[in-house]
């Protein structure tokens, strides 16, 4: 497993990948939960299929941005097939860097008055 510590090399991220990181930002989740959260948060604009989701999870895991969590919910509440994923510190760094990159781009667009009416963040 190669662990590339160079945050820059992950930028810019694909929307799907970025949304997976965002979904994990407030705690560990299993695959289906990630998928639901992304759909809910983006009002169904970003819809991940099983194939895309796990393709991205595999990449993020092998790059060290996320890890499989050891902690599991109590037996009975849990489907044994499920694995839980958690953001690593490095993954958080990358997610922040990507958000900042987008924020900077957004500021520039605002400065150029690209928005028809100013929106509240």
């Amino acid at each position: 497993m190669t662990r590339n510590k160079d945050v820059e090399s992950f930028l810019p991220m694909t929307p799907a990948m970025f949304h997976v990181l965002i979904a994990l930002a407030d705690g560990e989740k299993h695959g289906y939960a990630i998928l639901k959260e992304v759909a809910r948060r983006t009002e169904d604009k970003v819809r991940l299929s099983a194939g895309t989701l796990y393709g991205n999870l595999a990449r993020l895991e092998s790059a060290g941005l996320i890890v499989e969590s050891d902690e599991r919910p109590a037996i009975g509440l849990d489907d044994e097939r499920r694995r839980y994923y958690r953001l690593t510190d490095f993954g958080r760094e990358v997610a922040i860097a990507e958000a900042e990159r987008m924020d900077a781009a957004l500021s520039q667009a605002r400065a150029k008055k690209l928005f028809r009416k100013p929106r509240l963040a």
Binding site: G31, L35, A50, G51, T52, L53, Y54, R81
Partner: protein, 890 residues
């Protein structure tokens, strides 16, 4: 990972989903497959609860797209990893990599080169539009065994008018003429053709135009079309050649066009002219006579009509002509019209040779594969611990096999790349060789077909040796870690696999070497066969005197005598003679003795009804022919200057004619005459047989007719006291002193002619020799390798034996004996294979039976000796094992 759902109670959609998952890499599936199924099931359940059937479609669509988007990326990642890993492993083991790549490159390269030739000659469609519709017509005298007697003007017309299956039929014959108008008089090979000849073939001119119907009417202004090669070689590809004029047959001819490079059949021509321009073809007497057969015919079959239908149609016409003109088609000759696809006619001679070479090349590749598989096997043994560690770290068995296959793929692709270099470098040599077998040799080149072939060969090769190696090492992937070395059971299995691979290498090498050996033996016989004439110090020149200048035979005889007189005065010349053809002349070999033969009658022998008249070849010679060529007189006398046809008509026969027609009597004094001759000729002598039409063909019955009695000579033969080629210039100027317009071309010594005539078998023998040597080298290296491996595996055991008192010489014998057993087994299998395949060789061999015991014994001994030599080093190492070291290794 345990499955919670049994196969019976899973739903159809789950089955489909699992099917979709199978496009993902196996490791990915093992890692995430179950979770993905879970996620999909939950998505489905949710939609079911919502009761939104359209959302089902959307789910399936997104799932489908997602998986097919992810799969290539995952596979590509693995490929990148595997390639990087493989390249690292190769760098660590440069020796193995170099040997494997080189072995594969030789194997694939041989195949690419031969395939390029086979592709251009046998597989590619003819470079004419709809070439598969073109046919070549021959009129045969089947009962006489004459393959092609040609067509007369009447016959061409009849076949053209009466057929229902052809969209066109054109005639062709070739002649030698002298062309004036640029430098020295040049003898040109002229093809005389119908006006629509090029339209029939669909050939568009490179420059100018092709013939128009008006060009072919009697009295039309003479026109010429130049072949691509002639235009390129003799006029430096002059773009302004159209419109230039040349003198030919006393008439001014205008060049109207230049052809693109297209294969010409049956022979290459320099210029093309319409039939009206040929003085023979346009003669009234020739046109009127149904029996004056000289032309070949080509036709195009109508669209939608099969060759078989055309064949039947033309055979019907042939039958009809037979009953309409019984005198022109005597039953005893067995006249018949035969139709064959042009492609077959163009490639007929090359097919068996090329297919044999392709088979030989394939054998080399198989041997190379077996060898690399063995090398890989030996290497995976050494890498077992490494592979076992990777297994322990979670790599599945499929993943490891995939890794091994990627490594073989990279090796094979590198080999393929190098193979292209080998092949493109040897292609010109092969094309020159193929040119002796087929007019299509011009089309040979490295093209996309060859590149695709190389790629496919490389892929196939990698799969073959990669799978072999991977399969045999599979059992060990998991046991490697536990024992620290290969397990006993699988080790034995692997040794058996190696033994089998070595056996196949030896067997294939044996077959190849038998092929090479037989061809070499055959060639040796061919080179030393008594051709019946002495080729040393004889110069042969193609000499033509203008047909129009010397209209009568007498005039030609006079100028011929003058030329001989003048040439014999050149210092260094011993004797000179003129003849219609000389021994082993290229054109004569191509055409065969049939082209020179015709039926004749023997005085006092009546043919019984239905009996075919005897047939003999006829060669026109001046009296000095036999002294010049050193052909011995067997009975009677030779020709003299007095035999000029004015008093008594005489003829000499060869021994083959005596054996065939007068086996029990003296032919001298007997009288014969040609079917169409008016007068009887008396046989005055018998001379020795000459293999005029190819060293491998026994002399046919031949009549030698004195020059004064027959047509114009074509060849000037000069015996010299000095090196024959040194007097060539002096002889040519002597000819020009007599007639400045005579064409003197294609000068060569008879030794060259003899050597040229064996070029094809020499190349076949050399190619097979190279392939055989390659195979031997690879097989010997394989045997040496496996013996070295055996010795290192049995290191301890041999040490114990020596400690217990075994003599080093006994150990040496033991190891050598093992390699001998392997080789003998391989040779035995190979011998069975070779005996089964001898039918392929038969037609290519001269005076050597395909089961020639000498070849079989010598090849077996060579293989045994090579095997012993290759095993000697490992055997000596075994004999010198120090028992203390061996036992300490415990």
């Amino acid at each position: 990972m345990a499955r919670t759902t049994s196969t019976s109670d899973i739903s159809l959609s789950q089955k489909v989903f699992r099917g979709l998952l199978s496009v993902l890499p196996s490791d990915f599936r093992a890692n995430f497959g179950h979770e993905m199924e879970g996620v999909f099931a939950q998505q489905k359940r949710e939609i079911e609860e919502r009761g939104a059937p359209l959302d089902f479609l959307r789910l399936w669509w997104e799932t489908f797209m997602g998986i097919f988007h992810t799969a290539p990326r995952e596979h590509w990642d693995i490929l990148k990893q595997d390639c990087a890993y493989a390249l690292r492993a190769m760098r660590k083991n440069v020796g193995f990599t170099a040997i494997a790549v080189l072995t594969l490159a030789l194997g694939i390269g041989a195949n690419t080169a031969i395939f390029s030739v086979v592709h251009a000659v046998l597989l590619r469609p003819l470079p004419y539009s709809d070439g598969q519709q073109l046919v070549f017509l021959r009129q045969q005298a089947q009962r006489e065994g004459i393959d092609d007697i040609g067509f007369s003007v009447h016959e061409i017309q009849d076949y053209r008018e009466q057929n229902r299956t052809l969209s066109g039929l054109v005639e062709y014959h070739n002649m030698s003429f002298i062309l004036f108008g640029h430098g020295d008089p040049d003898r040109v090979r002229a093809a005389v053709v119908s006006a629509n000849y090029f339209d029939l073939f669909g050939v568009k001119p490179l420059l100018g135009r092709t013939f128009l119907p008006d060009d072919d009417t009697l009295g039309a202004p003479p026109v010429l079309i130049l072949s691509y090669d002639y235009w390129k070689t003799n006029f430096g590809s002059d773009p302004d050649i159209v419109g230039k004029t040349f003198e030919l047959n006393d008439k001014i001819h205008t060049v109207v066009g230049v052809l693109p490079p297209v294969p010409q059949y049956p022979v290459e021509s320099d210029v093309f002219m319409p039939t009206s321009a040929c003085p023979f073809r346009s003669a009234k007497t020739f046109i009127a006579n149904r029996d004056s057969r000289m032309m070949e015919a080509f036709a195009r079959v109508k669209p939608g009509v099969s060759i078989a239908q055309a064949r039947a149609d033309l055979a019907t016409i042939s039958d009809r002509l037979g009953s309409e003109y019984p005198k022109s088609y005597p039953e005893q000759m067995g006249y018949a019209a035969v139709t064959s696809p042009l492609r077959e006619a163009l490639t007929h001679d090359a097919r068996p040779t090329l297919l044999m070479l392709l088979a030989a090349a394939a054998f080399v590749l198989l041997i190379a594969c077996a060898n690399v598989a063995n090398l890989t096997l030996a290497r995976t043994s050494r890498r077992e611990r490494e592979l076992a560690v990777r297994t322990a770290l979670g790599a599945g068995r499929g993943r490891l096999l995939r890794q091994l296959l990627t490594e073989s793929l990279i090796l094979a692709l590198m080999g393929g790349l190098l193979a292209l270099v080998f092949a493109s470098n040897s292609l010109q040599l092969l094309a020159d060789f193929a040119a002796r077998l087929t007019p299509r040799a011009h089309e040979i080149r490295m093209d996309t077909g060859a590149l695709v072939f190389t790629l496919v060969a490389a892929l196939g090769t990698s799969v073959l040796f990669g799978t072999l190696a991977a399969l045999f090492s599979r059992a060990n992937l998991t046991s490697g870690l536990k024992e620290g070395s290969c397990g006993a059971g699988s080790g034995r299995r692997k040794n058996r696999a190696r033994g089998a691979l070595i056996l196949s290498q030896i067997a294939f090498s044996f077959i190849l070497l038998i092929g090479a050996g037989l061809m070499l033996r055959s060639l040796q016989k061919l080179l030393t066969v008594d051709a019946g004439f002495s080729a040393q110090h004889v110069l042969a020149m193609r000499t033509t005197f203008s047909f129009s200048k010397y209209a009568s035979g007498d005039q030609l005889t006079v100028v011929g005598e003058k030329v001989l007189h003048r040439v014999e005065a050149v210092p260094g010349v011993l004797s000179a003679s003129l003849s219609s053809v000389y021994p082993l002349q290229k054109e004569a070999i191509v055409a065969g003795s049939n082209a020179f033969s015709g039926p004749f009658r023997i005085e006092g022998r009546e043919l019984s009804p239905g009996e075919a008249p005897p047939v003999t070849s006829e060669i026109v010679v001046s009296p000095g022919y036999f002294q010049t060529l050193g052909i011995p007189l067997r009975a009677g006398r030779l020709l003299s200057d007095a035999d000029d046809g004015k008093h008594q008509i005489v003829v000499l026969i060869n021994e083959a004619a005596k054996r065939q027609f007068w086996p029990h009597e003296d032919p001298v004094g007997k009288r014969v005459k040609g079917e169409n001759d008016a007068k009887w000729a008396t046989i005055v002598g018998v001379v020795g047989d000459v293999r005029d039409f190819g060293l491998e063909r026994p002399a046919p019955p031949e009549f030698y007719v004195p020059q004064g009695e027959a047509a114009s000579p074509n060849a000037l033969l000069v015996r010299t006291a000095v090196d024959a080629s040194s007097v060539a210039l002096a002889v040519a100027s002597a000819v020009h002193e007599v007639d400045s317009q005579a064409a003197v071309t294609y000068t060569l010594t008879l030794e060259q002619a003899r050597s040229d005539s064996t070029a094809a078998p020499r190349v076949i023998a050399s190619l097979l020799g190279i392939f055989g040597a390659l195979a031997l080298l690879i097989a010997a290296a394989g045997i040496g390798g496996i013996m070295a491996l055996t010795v290192s595996q049995r290191f301890k055991e041999i040490g114990v034996r020596i400690a217990l008192g075994a003599q080093p010489s006994a150990i040496l014998r033991m190891i050598l004996g093992q390699s001998l057993i392997l080789t003998v087994l391989g040779v035995a299998i190979g011998a069975i294979g070779a005996l089964a395949m001898t039918g392929l060789f038969k037609s290519l061999l001269f005076q050597v039976p395909p089961t020639d015991p000498v070849t079989f014994i010598v090849v077996a001994l060579v293989l045994l000796a090579s095997a012993l030599l290759a095993s000697f080093l490992p055997a000596r190492r075994a004999a010198s094992i120090n028992p203390i070291v061996a036992l300490r290794n415990e």
